[in-house]
Assembly symmetry: C2
Homo-oligomer: 390 residues x 2
C-alpha cells in the first residue's frame, strides 16, 4: 500500500477524453454508432456529473455517447445548470416530469442524428446492468425509430473494466482510508457492544478520515462465524466466542473500495484459527494468480483448491471475487466458466469464503490493481492472525 496525497475531486478534461477515445475504439469495433446510458455510474463515467438527485426515480436522464465527437446530455430541465458545468458542450433538455413524452422524442432525434453509419445503437440491456427508465418508454423508443438497439453492456463493461491511472488512484485512496480505519477499530470494540454500535464506530472513523460516503457497511456476527454476509447490523450483542464480520463499500469521489475484516471476541477457537489461516493463504494464492494473461477461472482455481483441500462445506456467495470501481461490484467474476482475460489496470477483489460448519462462514477480502508485473495491493493486507477483542 503506497502513501497517497488526497486526489482532487473531479477529473481533468484529458481524463474524459481518454475514456471517450477508448469507448469510441470499442464502439467502432462493435459497429455501434453510439451508446446511450441512463444510470448514475455510466453517466458519471462519461461526463463527471455527480448528484444525489438519482434518489428521485421520477425523471429519466440520458447521455448519448456517439462514436465520433463528444457525448451529448439529454436530460430534464432541472439538471441543466449543473450538467452545463461538466466538460460536455451540448446539453439538450425537456420540461419534466412529462408522462406523455419524458424525453423519448428528444432522445430519438439525438440518437438518429448520431447514427450515420451502422444504424445500430447500444443500450444498458445486459449483465450487471439495468436500464434506469421505464421499460414501456424503452419500448416506445424502439417502436419509433428505425435504428437497431442492441445490448451495449459488453461494450460498456469492456470500457469500464480496465481503469485509467486516475481511477486506480481514487480507488487506492479510499482503500487506504478504510484500511487505516479497520486497523484502528479493534482498539475501540468491546465485548458487550451491539453489531450496530461496532459498525457505527467504523462508519464515523471512515467519514472522519475523508471518505465521501459509505453506502455499504454490513456488520454481522455469530459464534465462530456468520451464516450470511448481506443483512445487518442488528442490535445483537457481541459475546465471547463471536466473530464479527464487517465489510465496506465506502467511496471517494464516486469510486468504491470493497473489502472486509473479521474480529474475534474474547477467545478464538483452534478451528477458527485454522480456517482463518486457510483463507489468508487462499487470498495469497488469489493475489499471486492475478497476472495479465491469466483468466478469472485461474484466480478462482488458485483459491478454491486451497479451500477445498481444507474441507469447506461450501459458501453461498457464488464466486471468489469480482471487479470494482464506480460500483461496489462490477464484472468480471472469479468463478469457473467466467473466462475473462486479466488485463493490466483492472481492479479486482480477491474474496475467498469458507463455510466450515453449518451456519459458520468466514470470508476474507482484499482489493488489487493489475500491473504488468502482477497484482498490486490497494488495501493494507489483513493481519495473518485475527484481531482479538478482549
Amino acid at each position: 500500500m503506497s502513501n497517497l496525497n488526497i486526489p482532487q475531486h473531479g477529473f481533468s478534461n484529458l481524463e474524459f477524453e481518454e475514456r471517450l477515445s477508448k469507448a469510441q475504439k470499442i464502439m467502432h469495433k462493435q459497429q455501434l454508432d453510439a451508446i446511450f446510458v441512463t444510470t448514475p455510474q455510466n453517466i458519471r463515467y462519461f461526463t463527471g456529473f455527480d448528484s444525489q438527485f438519482w434518489e428521485s426515480p421520477t425523471r429519466p436522464w440520458f447521455v448519448v455517447v456517439p462514436n465520433e465527437g463528444k457525448p451529448i446530455a439529454v436530460i430534464p430541465e432541472i439538471g441543466q445548470p449543473a450538467m452545463e458545468s461538466t466538460w460536455l458542450d451540448e446539453v439538450r433538455t425537456w420540461t419534466a416530469p412529462n408522462p406523455k413524452d419524458d424525453g423519448i422524442s428528444l432522445l430519438k432525434s439525438t440518437l438518429e442524428q448520431c447514427s450515420n453509419r451502422f444504424k445500430k445503437i447500444g443500450a444498458e440491456l445486459g449483465r450487471e446492468m439495468s436500464l434506469r427508465m421505464p421499460v414501456i418508454d424503452f419500448y416506445k423508443l424502439k417502436e419509433k425509430t428505425q435504428l437497431e438497439i442492441v445490448d451495449g453492456s459488453p461494450a460498456i463493461w469492456n470500457m469500464r473494466m480496465v481503469k485509467t491511472k486516475a481511477e486506480i488512484n481514487h480507488i487506492n485512496y479510499i482503500c487506504n482510508i478504510a484500511s487505516a480505519a479497520y486497523e484502528e477499530l479493534p482498539n475501540h470494540l468491546e465485548i458487550g457492544d451491539t453489531e450496530r454500535e461496532a459498525v457505527r464506530k467504523l462508519r464515523i472513523d471512515i467519514a472522519k478520515r475523508g471518505a465521501d460516503s459509505t453506502p455499504f457497511m454490513p456488520g454481522i456476527s455469530g459464534p465462530g462465524g456468520v451464516s450470511q454476509i448481506v443483512c445487518g447490523p442488528t442490535d445483537r450483542i457481541l459475546e465471547k466466542g463471536d466473530i464479527l464480520f464487517i465489510d465496506t463499500g465506502s467511496t471517494y469521489d464516486g469510486y468504491f473500495c470493497d473489502f472486509d475484516r473479521n474480529f474475534a471476541f474474547g477467545e478464538i477457537s483452534s478451528e477458527v484459527e485454522r480456517v482463518h489461516e486457510v483463507l489468508w493463504l487462499a487470498t495469497e494464492a488469489g493475489i499471486k494468480a492475478a497476472i495479465p494473461g491469466a483468466k478469472t477461472d485461474d484466480i478462482w482455481l488458485a483459491m478454491n483448491t486451497i479451500i477445498q483441500d481444507a474441507g469447506t462445506i461450501g459458501n453461498n456467495v457464488g464466486r471468489l471475487g469480482h471487479g470494482l470501481g464506480l460500483q461496489l461490484t462490477e464484472p468480471p467474476s472469479h468463478r469457473p466458466g467466467d473466462n475473462t482475460l486479466i488485463l493490466e489496470d483492472m481492479v479486482l477483489t480477491i474474496e475467498p469464503a469458507m463455510e466450515y460448519a453449518p451456519g459458520k462462514m468466514i470470508v476474507h477480502e482484499e482489493n488489487i490493481a493489475i500491473t504488468k508485473d502482477g497484482a498490486k495491493l490497494l488495501t493494507k493486507r489483513a493481519p495473518r492472525e485475527m484481531p482479538l477483542v478482549k
Copy 2:
C-alpha cells in the same frame, strides 16, 4: 408536529398482511394473477427485507406477489438466510451469479404456478420505476412463458400511494428529526463556512438524532438564491448576501422525509424577503388545498396562482410537490394534468419554487399526511422569516 416515541425498526406481520390484502384487492380489480417486483423498495414493501447489498448490481432478486396467498421470494442463494427471517414462508433460491440462467427459469415456474385465472402478470414497467434486472433477461422471460406480462406500475403505485398508519408514523418520525436539526442549524453556521462544511454539520446532527441514513442532502448557495437544486455541496464559501438552500431525504427504517430550508447570510435584501413571504404563503395555500377529494391539479393551482401573481419568471423543477415514502419522490405530482385524486393517508410534499431573477431561485418545502379533515403537517413549519446567519 406531534411528539412521537421512537418507532420500532421493522413492522408486525399484521402490517404486512394489511399491505398484502390491499395489494390483492387491487390485483383482482386489474385482473392480475400476480405481480413480480425487483427493486429494493418494492421488495421491502412486501417483505420487510432490508439490506445494503442492493449496492451490488450483479445479481437480480425477485419477489412474486400472487393474488392469493403470501409472497414468494425467488432470490440468489446468498440472500437465503436473511430472507428466511422475514415473514415470508417460501424462499426459492438459485446459485448466482449464473450468466446462463440468473433466476429466469425459477421465476418463470413460480409465476406460472401462481397464474391460474387471468394468465396475466404485472411487472415494474411504467412511470417512476425501473426494472432491476437485465432487460435481455426480461425478454427471455417473456419469450419463455405463455403468460402475458403487462405494466404493473399503476397497480403498485395504487398500493403504495396510500400509506398505512405505521408508514405515516415512520415518515413523521424522520420529519421530526430533520425539523429539529434544521431549526438548530443556523446557530452553528458562520459566514466563511463552505457549503460542504455547512451540509456536514446538518448531516452529523441528523445522524446523532437517530436517522438511519441520509442518502440525499444537496446544499447549494448563491447571492440572493440558487440556479439549481440537484448538485452540491461544493467548496464554495458562504458570503454576505448569500442564500444557502439545504434539502434532505434522510431515512428512518427505510422511510424518507423530503424537505428543504433556506438560510440567509449577513443580510437579506427586501426582494428576497418578499419572495420568501410569497413562497411561505404559497405553501400555506398548498397545504390548505390538500384535502381528500381534491386533485393534485388543485394543489398545484393554489400555489401557482400566488407565485404567478408575484411575478415569477419560472423554475426548472417541473412541478410543485409530489408523494414520498419508501422513496424520496413517488407519485403523484402536483402539476397541471396529473389529475390524481387526493385520498386519506397519502403523504405528500408541498414544494413551491420561484425564480425571481435569472439564476436566483428560492424553493420552500413541507411534508404532509392527508387526514379526513385535511392536511396534517409532518414537518415543523419553516419559520415565516428566513433565519439570518450573522
